[in-house]
Point group: C2
Chain length 320, copies 2
């Protein structure tokens, strides 16, 4: 039973797990809140790794896979930067882990690894061609084509979140207007609710009450909570986000015609409330594919997608 160590450097949390690659079973699963800078995050992660390894002989561990929550360099040896934690600029993450643990180590960004994780251990098992979309604070994605993670000519493939679906839409974090991320990620859902509320204050009493009377406290979670309870303003906001996400997914399907589309991530955890209108919108926009050719399922790994993707990557690299 080959064992791999998986590390997940997220924007708000660190996770580490010693994992059996054959079945994806995670032993010694350790999670901590992320320190506010790169050096402390690194030191904490190495301590977590040693704790996860415990009394085992390092020789019993086949390698380390790292999921990094931000762009990495083309050779996948360095973190380029984190949008959430300072100090990661050009950080030689792989080298540092090799030096500290003496184990062969590989890295990729979190969206690619969530994709690889869902494909190897989750909702995408057994497919050859899969599109993965992660909906959370941002919208990331990944592509498996012919049983291989497609990284692209510059390591930047799979960016469903930064495809434009409304050139007159809001300004995105990337600087463009009307990217899927600017219309359907968590912050976009919260902003959209605040805008609806400003134009139709009489419809928003439920949501306003939910956030203690302070619209600036509206989050995507609050919108989903109120939508689940039947609030019509919040349902409208969710339907709007689902529609844009559906267009983005249908566009991606028109380009690569995947066998399966897997949607994961924090906002996706809202469940059927987002998922059902999302599938409806994507199928409505499926042409020239027949709607039934669009097979869309929720991710099944939830918070473990990064860890399991990191294991899958390490297994590909260092497995027999």
């Amino acid at each position: 039973m080959p064992l791999y160590l998986a590390m997940d450097f997220g924007g708000t949390k660190l996770a580490c797990g010693l994992t059996e690659s054959a079945n994806g079973m995670i032993h010694s699963h350790i999670r901590r809140a992320s320190p506010s800078n790169a050096i402390d995050s690194m030191l904490l992660m190495l301590a977590m790794a040693r704790e996860a390894i415990g009394g085992r002989d390092a020789l019993s561990i086949s390698g380390v896979g790292i999921s990094f929550g931000g762009p990495v360099d083309e050779r996948r040896e360095r973190a380029r930067l984190s949008h959430h934690v300072p100090g990661w600029e050009d950080y030689p993450l792989v080298d540092e882990v090799v030096r500290a643990l003496g184990l062969p180590t590989v890295m990729d960004n979190d969206a690619n690894l969530q994709c690889l994780g869902e494909w190897r251990y989750g909702a995408g098992q057994g497919t050859k061609d899969m599109l993965y979309v992660n909906v959370g604070t941002g919208i990331g994605g990944g592509l498996i084509l012919g049983g291989q993670l497609r990284r692209g000519a510059h390591g930047l493939a799979g960016e469903v979140g930064h495809t434009v679906v409304d050139p007159n839409g809001p300004v995105c974090t990337c600087g463009k207007r009307g990217c899927v991320e600017s219309l359907a990620a968590g912050p976009a859902i919260a902003r959209s609710a605040r805008e609806f509320l400003a134009s139709r204050p009489q419809d928003g009493s439920w949501l306003v009450a939910d956030v203690g009377g302070d619209p600036s406290k509206i989050t995507a979670e609050a919108v989903f909570r109120c939508a689940a309870e039947g609030d019509s303003l919040c349902r409208l906001v969710v339907a709007r986000a689902a529609r844009y996400l559906g267009i983005g997914i249908a566009n991606a399907a028109a380009l690569v015609d995947p066998e399966l589309i897997v949607v994961g991530g924090g906002v996706a955890k809202a469940g059927p409330l987002l998922f059902i209108p999302l599938v409806g919108a994507a199928k409505e926009q499926a042409a020239p594919l027949d709607p039934e050719m669009l097979s869309i399922v929720p991710g099944s790994l939830l918070d473990d997608a990064n860890i399991l993707g990191a294991v899958a990557l390490a297994e590909q690299e260092f497995g027999g």
Copy 2:
């Protein structure tokens, strides 16, 4: 020097050529206007094929490649239908050619073969990953990934033309709203010019004169002609089409991150007039890719892309 016979069943013309696969040199190049139904087209094409073969021994020809101007079935043996010529529904094109000529035969749709042709003999030579976009009466496309034509799980990959870039845009031939094709193909350019003209008749005297005073006679060609002569209304119309096409191309690049993007087809023949603003718009929308990562070039095969793609396909299938 292996020789292949290539056939191109287009909506308005038929072409046939005996071609050296090593260098793409087309011998005995024959073109005719397409008859108005499938049976007559087939008979004429077979006569053209026999003329192209001439006195040669059939054994000196390694195979036949067919480019069909419409969707084909998943096994690529039958035409599904032509949008321009009746009678092609479910037509066993490959079998008929095998029976008539006694040569091994393969087929694919024209967009895939234009892509393959540009990659093997044209602007895309030497690349591993290439996106091809064909701008004409419709907007088609194809993808080469890892040196292979990507057909997709249902044979429908590469449909850049039917990605939505403005959900409030005009209705497309596919039934959706705001597809790239509905905003930037030839008919969309003509329609857009008529609309500008209706709202700003004082600006359109040049274009109106060009079409003999009859706005219903406006074509994309007329718009490009007047734009080339400096007409400001036509320049605006071209810039608008280029912008939407640029967004569609940048979206595709965000998803697959290709090494090279090749733009071909009839409308693309308008040259720098369309190409320069198109490249500008695509680079403006490149994020998260750096603009210089978007490498966009015009196709170099022009009207021979279909024939040369058909040869490349036959060579892949039947070559040594």
